[in-house]
Symmetry: C2
Subunit: 564 residues, 2 copies
């Protein structure tokens, strides 16, 4: 019998990084190690404790990522007893767009003594929101110029993405812009640390930097229209050579081997965005199967065979998820967050007390109560826009609504209505894809909610009238990254020749899945029609009350601040 081979996926999240060591022939996860970032998310001060950051900033320290590599990889080797000789591939997934400026040797500018007090020399985390002015201006100019790329991003480029972040640096710290040899996605920078090779991946380039396989980046004219100094930003500060996922970026260098305990020469795949890595992790490598990653927010991913313009999607990128397909992404900005808000603000003391007496947490108590309600019994319906609408309307200024309250309305009824609202939001996204010519036949779910919340998942099955399969792994992105690592190694070395083959063997869902209950489906169809009508009325301009209320709120808050 041949000796087992292994691959390691390293998943860099918002607060920590984790390595997962995976058996290549089965996808079985043998060992896991987690390292919290030493500096966490820096949103008040730089590491010097003196340099204060503006509101909406979110930075990280690149040294923290190296610590992750240095501690978690040796740790999984040790835990599992697997020899580094049998680890044939490594894959990296990272939050996106998380970016940093580097010098011509790949060293972060924040490592330099003379620049380390400049906030712009650090890593801008995905949720750094201080480039909103730049994003607004970018979108305005793109609309004015009729830039075709807008359609591929639901009509709007986010302030979280690469170009807005680079422009902010140019505006606020031209010396950093000047000093930067390159701006890199962290997924790629980690690969650079491991292999000495800068190999830009198609996923984050496509979803976060407006790159298109056939058309490349936006034109020089567009960048010039943004700011004359940006005219040559692509040539000067980005990398135009883009590689599809699963491509072998290079091999572990001597230096990286010393850092990680891996063998020099071990294959490393190009990086991948963390959400996107999950797709093969549940075994999806073909069109028609939508994966929902459900946590504080939900990310929807789907493959298609053609490039279609779907209203309000987050992005469509050729080779963005699985080489050879168009990867479609959509999202809901308020899912788990919604229920957290409710529990913090709207649950009466009597319920808190009841949960305490029963020795269960308040979410469980609410779910217990809510699960006794029949579909439609509460008479409530909500719009899930507590944090705006990411897809289909792409409008951060929309707000939440609940309708149908009476003097007998109970907290668990509102709780259930909020859950249902997020399910209706997902159904709206599914329907929008279908109407735009991107078929969806099956639903998959991963993430904390998918794993733990049976009540909610059944509602999703009933609302969408689709079966929902659940990821077998609790760390699907890391598993997906490890699979790309196995592909980078290739079949000859004991890996796979394609992600399709890898996914067949290694991607997994649980045996138990959710089936729609016909009597619930029937009622939800009626409720969904109401949701749709409200969605369109408040979301498509018939009554812009939400925006006007926000406008008033903004004015008032400004006056209040000026007074104080």
């Amino acid at each position: 019998m041949e000796k087992k081979k292994y691959s390691i996926g390293v998943d860099f999240g918002t607060l920590s990084g984790r390595a997962v060591l995976v058996e290549i022939d089965t996808g079985k996860e043998i060992a896991t190690a987690v390292k919290e970032y030493t500096h966490g998310v820096m949103d008040e001060y730089l590491p010097d404790g003196k340099t204060k950051l503006e509101p909406d900033w979110a930075l990280q320290h690149p040294a923290d990522y190296l610590e992750v590599l240095e501690t978690t990889i040796p740790e999984v080797l040790k835990q599992s007893g697997v020899s580094a000789d049998d680890v044939i591939g490594v894959g990296i997934d990272f939050t996106e767009c998380t970016m940093l400026p580097i010098d011509d040797k790949g060293e972060p500018l924040c490592f330099k003594e003379e620049l380390k007090s400049n906030p712009h020399s650090y890593v801008k985390l995905w949720k750094h929101h201080a480039a909103q002015d730049e994003a607004n201006r970018l979108n305005q100019i793109a609309v004015e110029r009729g830039e075709k790329f807008l359609g591929r991003y639901g009509g709007k480029i986010s302030s979280e993405w690469m170009i807005a972040k680079i422009w902010q640096i140019l505006n606020e710290a031209p010396e950093i812009y000047e000093a930067a040899d390159r701006f890199m996605e962290l997924a790629d920078w980690i690969v650079l640390q491991l292999t000495g090779q800068e190999k830009r991946n198609s996923c984050t380039a496509g979803y976060k930097a407006i790159w298109h396989k056939r058309e490349g980046y936006p034109s020089k004219e567009f960048f010039k229209a943004l700011d004359p100094r940006l005219e040559n930003v692509v040539e000067e500060k980005l990398n135009k050579n883009i590689y599809p996922l699963g491509y072998k970026a290079g091999e572990i260098t001597e230096k990286a081997a010393r850092l990680t305990g891996l063998k020099p020469g071990t294959s490393v795949a190009v990086g991948v965005g963390d959400a996107h890595a999950a797709l093969p992790g549940v075994g999806i490598t073909e069109p028609g199967k939508m994966l929902m990653i459900m946590g504080t927010s939900t990310c929807h991913m789907l493959l298609g065979t053609e490039e279609k313009i779907v209203p309000g999607m987050c992005g469509v990128v050729e080779d963005g998820m699985i080489p050879g397909y168009y990867g479609y992404e959509a999202g809901q900005s308020c899912v788990g967050d919604h229920f957290q808000w409710f529990v913090k603000n709207c649950v009466p003391a009597s319920y808190t007390e009841e949960a305490k007496q029963k020795g269960i947490n308040i979410h469980k108590l609410l779910r217990e109560k809510a699960s006794k309600l029949k579909v439609g019994e509460s008479g409530l319906i909500a719009l899930d826009w507590w944090n705006g609408n990411r897809s289909v309307l792409v409008d951060a200024d929309l707000t939440g609504l609940i309708i149908g309250c009476t003097l007998l309305t109970k907290p668990e009824e509102i709780y259930r209505a909020l859950i249902e609202a997020t399910a209706f939001g997902t159904k709206m996204i599914i329907e929008t894809f279908r109407h735009s010519g991107v078929p969806i036949y099956e639903l998959y779910a991963a993430g904390g909610i998918a794993e733990k919340d049976e009540f909610m998942m059944q509602i999703y099955a009933d609302v969408t009238n689709m079966e929902i399969k659940i990821a077998a792994s609790a760390q699907t992105p890391a598993l997906g990254a490890a699979m790309f690592g196995a592909v980078a190694a290739g079949k000859e070395k004991g890996g796979y020749n394609s992600i399709v083959d890898a996914a067949k063997a290694m991607g997994k869902v649980k045996d138990r899945y959710y089936k729609p209950i016909p009597e619930n489906v029937a009622v939800y169809e009626r409720l969904y029609r109401e949701y749709q009508k409200l969605h369109d009325y408040f979301g498509r301009g018939e009554n812009d009350v939400m925006k006007r209320l926000k406008e008033i709120k903004k004015e008032i808050t400004k006056v209040k601040e000026n007074l104080s």
Copy 2:
């Protein structure tokens, strides 16, 4: 110096009756005595403890009212040290429509041994809601026949009112209908007990029994269309002689003198509905001044010089409040109730704890927090329909809505939005009167909320952009009743010749009143436009989602009940 004269007002509420002894020249309240009803509200069993009542029933025992007379009047005489010789007038106000069947001697049928086990022989309290089927049928037939009277009642006759209640008795207990010589409003029945005279008052006849000063009761044809047995209900079971408020019904009889300690011959005014008695209590005897009685719900009252059809008002009655004027009534069905619901269902444990630590009640804590918010700062707006809409839309199937929620929305912001919603509801009523040709220049408020809740009253002043005067008396209806007693006595005996004169001397508001704050008014005008748009969209048929949700809820609840 002439000796002071006094009048007594007796106010019969839902749970108790109270007598107030008032100085006639100043309106000063000298003494008050309260008696809780021995049988309270009977909504489960008859006094025998065996005869079970159906859902939605609410009965009372007429003996309880006699106990009120017997204990509270002697008590105020004793407390005050005023001699019965100096009490020149008595006035009675009562909840309405609160009705009972009597024999030809005025004795309640429930006093009879052979009938006392029949629920229909007792007093049907105003909130007895078991005649809904009859009310629905009545409205349907009235619409089919194009009955003009509907317009005077906002297009809908309530199940709480006289005709529906009588019809229920006929349908469910024809033997009681048969045995009844008359059906009486309790306001009139008390006057009958005191004076031996049956003098039906124009207020409850008009607002609750579809009586019109010029057109009388509905036609025989109408009653026949309801039920052939009702054809002659007016002649057979009601009283066609109607007397305006302040009219002297008669004098205290020997028997009543023994019961109450008053002198035989003391003048007694015809009865009056409790809400309507409040109008002169705050000194209103002329058009253009709207009084809001604010408690669990709000009742709006207003005088006009012409009969106008105002969409969705509760009723317009000539001589209904002040003789010589048209009395207009409107209402909001969910005011104090709204905040009770919120506090019970939506306030988190952390707030309950904070209130406890501060030693204040939770409403006070919420008001403290909410009062720190600037108008418009929360970005929220609500429709105050948690208990349907009584005026302007007259639609019990409408439900509550809140819009503008975000992940940062706080409980006090929702609380404030609910208060504002009720204020917008009042503004909508005011505007509707104005547009219908019934002018309103001034606002007055009475009741628990008006007296205690400065925060809320300021919001009402800001939303309506009107000054609001507050009743000086905590028992305005009893004061108003006493004033009608003084008018019944007449000037010669030391009283007044008209309620206008009485109100000038005796009606009172507090020195301190609420003035609109211009900067708040400006923002509320913008918010009100949003309220109006939502009000019309959801309330006038553009999107009947609330009704459809209620329909679904009804179906589901029925299925659930059948299963269990």
